[in-house]
Amino acid sequence: MTRGHIVIDDVVKVYDPQGAAVMAVDHCSLEIEPGEICMIVGPSGCGKTTLLNAIAGFHEITSGRIVMDDEVLCSTAKPLSTPGPDRIVVFQNGALFPWKSNLENVIFGPLMQGKLGRTQAIEKARAMLADAGLSGVEHNYPGEVSSGMRRRVEIVRALMNDPKALLLDEPYRALDSLTKSVMHEALLEIYYKNKVTIFFITHDLEEAIFLGHRVAIMTTRPCKPKKILDVDIPHPRDYGVLTSKRFRELIEETNDAVHEEALKAFQAGEKEG
């Protein structure tokens, strides 16, 4: 299977190269296996979102290249990749269209691409929503359901397009810790059914180790992998993992590295982002 194999090769991103020349990403290389959950951990403002934006096609890169399944997304010659339904972003604050019902949101992708007719799209959406335990909220608007529910609908909206990769940008940042733990299990459950590559940005080390096959701990701005941790806790996982010995050991092993970067970021006074 070669779906969702992402290679980040020596990527550099400098904001405002003529003026302030802020280096956000510094010769970053990272390979993400097909169907892997790769967690990117770093302090706020370390430049990890810049990396995600480069893959998604929201920001240009300065040099290097990003390849997915032998297709060059962006490179020095073509600095901006084209956004597309093969890699879909789930945004930090959620981006379900509030003026469309949850069902209409979910069928949006296939309808816009002309891949499915309306009836077929609705049929598929109903099945996928039911699968994710979201049948009751089809006709509600996103503003009427809880924020945790909105995130799940958004993930279903992404999966409707059979993407190769999901790019999640701190999607659970605004949720309370109880909802968060439910969301983690819901995400894993969806993942076990779909096995899509997941590129997940977070600043929460526990979240990263609980969810990820691998955890890449990034240096603070400029951003590049400082330490890559293979999480050897077998999948499928549930919340019981959180209290297992191995989990605690892994946290201890990586905590120092994360803390060190957070301290650096704090001292540098980086702004959020």
């Binding site: 998604a56 096609g57 929201f58 956004p83 597309g84 339904p85 890699r87 879909i88 972003v89 945004f91 604050n93 959620g94 981006a95 269209f97 509030p98 003026w99 469309k100 019902s101 949006f108 992708g109 816009m112 691409q113 335990g133 979201l134 009751g136 909220v137 006709h139 509600n140 608007y141 503003g143 009427e144 359901v145 809880s146 945790g148 529910m149 909206r157 992404a158 397009n161 109880l178 439910v182 819901a186 549930d238 919340y239 019981g240 959180l242 209290t243 297992s244 010995k245």
Partner: protein, 424 residues
């Protein structure tokens, strides 16, 4: 033989314990000791395992590894919080909670770990699971059958039951009462020359009005109709041109750079300053009046529409791009609906200023209309008629902006529902 049977049972017990969350990682030795105090039990389908209120002596581990009935572990919890029935034939292990605690205390390190996991299990058991949260938030009839109409009716009935309509009536009564007293009873300076409320109402309701204008004269409705028709033309024209113009201003940076500075320079020019030019431009007075009303409306609509487009969160556009929408699709499905709340704010302002500039224009030129009524009544010294014209303007103006608001609610059901949930 009997010993062999017992060993088999113990093995099955340890296997079940291994499956459960709390005992997953404990050492083999401790697990054996826990298995030794566990008593197997069997329940037929439908049998009651325990009932709420009973003494929580044992906790239960199903063969599947599911743990339940842990109330006995909680300090000071001396009764069951729920009842449990077996839905199918079930084998479980019963473990006395006090014995278990004693056992865990003898192995403090491992015991602490186990107790922490029990804490997680209990927290999960007694916090709302996700499907229950769904029902609580959205299972109300407010989902499918609730149309905009019934929602509006519902809100109207709420309004009638609230103190607001009665406060409103009191407000009007105070206003009219003060008018009556100030003019007709106290005869306060400055108010003395004003027509009193009784003479105005008498004139307004008279079948044979002294000054020629009342609810019974055809003239009255002709004036209203002419004014409404002018405002309607101006408003629709302003909407038809202003909304696309504003969308373009917000959507295209280049277009904005060309056009916006000119727009911003023309906008502060008061409508009355346009009157002479409008009369020169349009030979017919009718078009000149409509043009003036249009101009003010157009500014309000265009400006708010532009702000609406600019207010749209960039993630929506990005999300649409990710999902494979083309530029025209983004415009149709993201920009237009996203700007709609601002557009309708603009339209509310627009209809207001359109009345404002219409009356100004009618006072200067024109042969019919409410502004014309007010102005000529002044010149002909028909004071009560002035007030009739003013009050009519107030009522008709309010009605038109209410219509715009209703249209907005109809088009933005999502927003009505969101606001209803926020109880606003």
């Amino acid at each position: 033989m009997e010993a062999a049977l017992r060993v088999g049972a113990t093995n099955r017990a340890t296997a079940a314990l291994r499956e459960s969350t709390p005992f997953r990682d404990v050492s083999e030795a401790l697990l054996q000791r826990i298995a030794a105090i566990a008593r197997p039990a069997r329940y037929a389908a439908g049998a009651r395992v325990y009932s709420a209120g009973e003494v929580p002596d044992d906790l239960f581990v199903a063969v599947s590894g599911r743990v339940f009935g842990c109330e006995g572990l909680l300090l000071g919890q001396n009764q069951r919080l729920s009842s449990v029935n077996a839905t199918e034939p079930t084998e479980v292990l019963r473990i006395n909670a006090d014995q278990l605690v004693g056992l865990l205390e003898s192995e403090p390190l491992e015991g602490l770990d186990v107790m922490q996991r029990f804490a997680t299990v209990i927290q999960r058991e007694f916090s709302l699971p996700a499907p229950a949260q769904v029902r609580r938030l959205s299972g109300t009839p407010l989902t499918e059958e609730m149309s905009t109409l019934s929602l509006t009716m519902y809100r109207a009935s709420l309004w009638l039951r609230s103190p607001r309509p009665y406060l409103m009536v009191i407000g009007f009564a105070l206003f009219l009462g003060f008018w009556y007293l100030a003019v007709e009873v106290w005869k306060l300076p400055r108010f003395r020359e004003m027509p009193g409320v009784t003479s105005v109402v008498k004139e307004w309701l008279s079948p044979a009005p002294t000054y020629g204008l009342s609810l019974y004269t055809e003239e009255y409705y002709k004036h209203i109709a002419v004014s409404v028709w002018r405002v309607a033309q101006a408003f629709f024209l302003a909407t038809l041109l202003g909304v696309p113009f504003g969308l373009l201003l917000g959507w295209s940076r280049k277009f904005k750079e060309y056009v916006f500075p000119v727009f911003e320079m023309l906008r502060p020019i008061p409508i009355l300053a346009w009157v002479p030019l409008a009369i020169v431009m349009f030979i017919a007075t009718e078009s000149a009046v409509v043009y003036l009303a249009f101009l003010a409306s157009f500014y309000a609509t265009a400006l708010n529409t532009m702000l609406g487009v600019q207010s749209i969160d960039e993630s929506y556009v990005r999300a649409a791009n990710c999902l494979g929408a083309s530029q025209p699709q983004v415009f149709r499905h993201v920009v237009l609906p996203g700007a709609l709340p601002f557009i309708f704010t603009g339209l509310q302002i627009s209809i207001g200023v359109s009345w404002f500039s219409l009356v100004a224009a009618e006072m200067v030129s024109g042969q019919y209309g409410l502004g014309y009524v007010i102005n000529t009544s002044y010149m002909m010294v028909r004071y009560p008629t002035i007030i009739i014209g003013m009050a009519t303007l107030g009522i008709v103006g309010y009605a038109t902006s209410a219509l715009v608001r209703i249209a907005g609610d109809y088009l933005m059901e999502w927003r009505v529902r969101e606001l209803a949930l926020a109880e606003r």
